[in-house]
Symmetry: C2
Subunit: 258 residues, 2 copies
């Protein structure tokens, strides 16, 4: 079929040095390939991430991963393992990455409402920048977390956000900024939910609503809405808080005449 053709075209072409040690008088013969175990492993995992997020676990094709990685299929098994192990490695990498970025977020020195805003913005932007993460989570949940349960590594990678939220909420209640001491786990899930669902389901929602939920304006409106909703709930200053949406444009969209 045309499959072989596609694979060849999509194939990452590894450039191999044509001459080795060009300084030598006797020109060495052309190398057919080079060793690069670390690079190979990284390229395999990156290709696998793309493949699994684009097609899910069952839909992913081992041959395509190999082709995208510019490798021979045998290399996947040599460097990582079989399809399932490859998938789990990708999943663990994805969690590792987000946890690491989460830890970089410093909310301590911000006043509570601003801290919550930052939290929402980070979540939103991270999901926007890493759509494969959303897909991988969806895939894993369709599998009822069968693979994740086997990963002691992921189980030990706790998100720092729950504790961050707990602290911020406590501070907010103390300072009088917040009216209610919400459960940090619930709030964490809700903040994730507002962004996650919008983005992960944007394809079907766009069809249903007959408009593109991912264009610039729509995304601005969404972010403003989410920030307004959560902060209004916490502070009780609904009208005022929906107003502080960053841009006049998005503010107008959120606080529109109904």
């Amino acid at each position: 079929m045309t499959n072989i053709l596609k694979l060849t075209l999509a194939c990452y072409t590894r450039l191999v040095g044509t001459q080795r040690a060009p300084g030598l008088a006797k020109a060495k013969r052309t190398l057919k390939w080079q060793r690069d175990p670390e690079g190979m492993r990284l390229r395999i995992l990156e290709a696998a991430k793309q493949e699994f997020s684009a097609h899910g676990l069952a839909g992913a094709r081992v041959d395509r991963i190999a082709a995208k990685a510019g490798a021979n299929k045998r290399m996947l098994y040599y460097h990582v393992g079989n399809k399932d192990e490859l998938y789990l490695a990708v999943l663990e990498g994805a969690y590792d990455k987000i946890r690491s970025e989460e830890r970089g977020l410093d909310l301590e020195h911000l006043d509570p409402p601003e801290a919550i805003r930052r939290l929402i913005e980070f979540t939103w932007n991270y999901f926007l920048r890493n759509p494969e993460f959303l897909s991988l989570l969806q895939t894993e949940n369709l599998a009822r977390a069968k693979h994740l349960k086997k990963s002691t590594k992921v189980k030990s990678m706790h998100s720092p956000f729950v504790e961050m939220i707990r602290t911020v909420v406590r501070r907010g209640v103390d300072s009088g900024d917040f009216q209610v001491a919400v459960d940090p786990v619930q709030l964490y899930i809700s903040i994730a939910a507002l962004s996650f669902f919008y983005l992960s389901n944007s394809a079907t929602l766009s069809v249903i609503f007959g408009r593109d939920l991912l264009d610039k304006k729509a995304k601005e409106e969404r972010l403003a809405h989410m920030v307004g909703l959560v902060l209004a709930a916490l502070t009780g200053q609904s009208a005022a808080l929906f107003e502080i949406a960053k841009t006049p444009k998005s503010r107008a969209a959120v606080v529109q005449a109904v």
Copy 2:
């Protein structure tokens, strides 16, 4: 492999009348099978719904669908079509069902806060009662709504909720119950998001948090949290509204000391 065995075991056994027209003097020979085109079609679609929601599009197996339906594989193609057409039929059926139930929800005669609460409770309970719907949406979104885009049927099935919300919000602002005239599409998406994400991602979240998010208590807390969050945002009565959570138990959980 053991596959054949599994299929046989899982197979829906269609009971066939052993005797036809038992009143006749001459006992007719035993029927090997009976005709039942409508029933067959329904059983096929039901089996397909289970299979697609359990395994996704690529992971679904045509043979398993046939076995579950108590049918021959050939029947799928005879009554519905190939795998893709089968999948689309299931998807359309799922949308048809939720739209129909949505239309049954009457919010006109309720005061605005109560109407919003009902809306959230309906969404939450519908997702709880129809987990396959969540899975199907996830699957379709992983496919970037490729199939849904081809369905004129679904495109024309608008949810009545957006207009319901628009009316309710308008009434709420007029009556002074609500402080802010939120975009009904955004609110619709947010309400769906809060339930959808929690349930569709409960598997991975349960692993991450190390506890079962689907047990009775957790579900009560979640519902109370969602209602509190949305109503607090709309009314600005944060503390008061988080308090009106139905049960004392769940209320205590939501408005807990941090």
